[in-house]
């Protein structure tokens, strides 16, 4: 029973997590069914178009973006619990005692959170399998979308853990995570800047990089944004844990 397995048990023993997973699954299934139904009903009008939308562009991409939005809620909650709960239930000392570096604690806690990816991959596989049964999917774009979503979850968990380490209460940590994730998302959904290079602030939002990845534009900048960003957040969390010893 190490830190990771302890956190996995804590995470999956919470009824709220199961409720949230059930709600997200229901919303996704409902929306996907509605979109498939609408896509089918518009087949006649598509015949007159020179380049009709494919299943990938009309159904898969919006599905991934909607899923990402719903995941903001889930990650805000699970990552919010991470360190704030240790502080509120006075168990943080177990993680601080006999350690000089706290990176291993941050990594162990992050690994426990990454189990959420099982839920993500399961839903992506189901959706891809369902859509592939009805038409031709662009499997490259499907793969890039999946990779983008995995990297987004990784990035959000690292950021959520950092914010959680500054909070004494899980409720406050979850709320702050929701606000920060929401603001970052809104930053990337600026409708006035459709053209490339019009608003560079868009590059700060994970939504922009996820969109590019889903469209098959694999830029090194996007990869670095997610991977280096997560690494920086983890490093900052480890530093904050060290600083907490000056407060206890």
């Amino acid at each position: 029973m190490n830190i990771t397995s302890k956190d996995i048990k804590t995470l999956w023993r919470s009824p709220v997590i199961w409720l949230l997973l059930a709600i997200i699954s229901f919303i996704l299934a409902w929306l996907l069914w509605q979109m498939i139904d609408r896509y089918n009903s518009m087949q006649l009008s598509f015949q007159s178009l020179p380049n009709p939308p494919t299943i990938t562009t009309a159904l898969w991409l919006p599905f991934v973006m909607t899923f990402a939005q719903l995941l903001l809620l889930l990650v805000a909650m699970t990552a919010g619990y991470s360190f704030a709960m240790e502080r509120s239930q006075r168990t943080l000392w177990y993680l601080l005692i006999n350690r000089d570096s706290f990176m291993s604690v941050v990594v162990a806690k992050l690994k426990a959170q990454l189990w959420l990816l099982v839920f993500v991959m399961l839903h992506l596989l189901l959706a891809a399998w369902l859509l592939a049964a009805g038409g031709a999917l662009d499997w490259w774009q499907v793969a890039f979308g999946a990779v983008g979503l995995v990297m987004l979850v990784f990035w959000l968990i690292a950021l959520g853990q950092l914010l959680s380490s500054y909070c004494r209460s899980s409720g406050v940590a979850i709320l702050i995570n929701l606000v920060v994730f929401g603001l970052l998302w809104m930053l990337g959904s600026d409708p006035g800047s459709q053209g490339y290079g019009l608003n560079w602030l868009l590059l700060l939002s994970p939504l922009t990089h996820l969109k590019w990845l889903c469209e098959g534009q694999v830029a090194i900048a996007s990869m670095l944004y997610f991977l280096a960003g997560a690494a920086v957040f983890m490093w900052l969390t480890a530093k904050q844990l060290g600083r907490l010893r000056r407060l206890l």
Binding site: M1, N2, I3, K6, K9, T10, R13, S14, Q89, R90, T91, L92, W93, Y94, L96, I97, N98, R99, R245, R246, L247, L248
Partner: protein, 232 residues
């Protein structure tokens, strides 16, 4: 184990003021002092979970500490068995089912092994805290008011275990229950207002109660004398 001029400042208050101490290794040191004297803060500094603002702490090489805080804090979502396994994993020990079973038996926790720690009564929380100390494999054990609310049975087991531990480990115990602690002590430290006002080996000739009163009296006389105006 040596503490050199340790100072701890929290929220603008000086909690530990220039602590200089040399403690026996192995052996049991008892910390006496009123509430707010700085005993718990000193234990947290010794455990390394609270960093002093100045001063140095010299522990032995590869020394590992474990603390029994007051009040005890466990992970409420874990069972007793899982909580102990977690503490075992912190000490990098291989968690064998036999070791876990032995700990549960030693502290009479077997029949609550699958109970969540949040549902334990005070007596079982104390047993679990003591089992954690046994599981930790640390060579410096820090006990904050361990005997508070202990019934006779647990107290007897606790004292027997401490007698055994102090042959090979360093133990620092903060307590208000002086008559029980004086049977175990090798060294006694009295604290007041974040300072050490008495530190010496304990030979058992004087009761803790009178030793504590004496130390306080001496400290107050010294304080008054140092504040009195110098006559011309």
């Amino acid at each position: 184990m040596k503490l050199n001029n340790l100072c701890l400042n929290r929220t603008g208050q000086l909690i530990l003021r220039g602590i200089n101490l040399t403690l026996p290794q192995p052996g049991l040191t008892v910390l006496l002092g009123a509430n707010g004297a700085g005993k718990s803060s000193l234990l947290q500094v010794l455990a390394g979970i609270s960093l002093p603002d100045s001063g140095t702490l010299e522990l032995g090489a590869d020394s590992r500490a474990f603390i029994m805080p007051e009040p005890a804090a466990f992970y409420p979502q874990l069972t007793v068995q899982q909580q102990l396994a977690f503490v075992l994993s912190l000490s990098d020990e291989l968690i064998s089912p036999n070791r876990l079973e032995a700990l549960l038996q030693q502290w009479q926790l077997t029949h609550v092994a699958d109970k969540l720690t949040q549902h334990l009564s005070l007596g079982y929380r104390q047993r679990l805290s003591l089992a954690q100390l046994s599981a930790s494999a640390a060579d410096l054990l820090l006990l904050d008011e361990p005997m508070n609310g202990m019934d006779h049975e647990i107290l007897t087991a606790f004292k027997a275990q401490v007698q055994q531990w102090k042959q090979s480990k360093s133990i620092v115990m903060a307590t208000h229950i002086m008559h029980e602690a004086q049977d175990l002590a090798d060294w006694v430290v009295v604290m007041e207002l974040g300072q050490v006002i008495h530190s010496a080996a304990y030979d058992g000739k004087q009761s803790f109660s009178s030793l504590y009163q004496q130390a306080l009296q001496d400290f107050r006389h010294q304080t008054v004398a140092s504040q009195a105006p110098v006559s011309a």
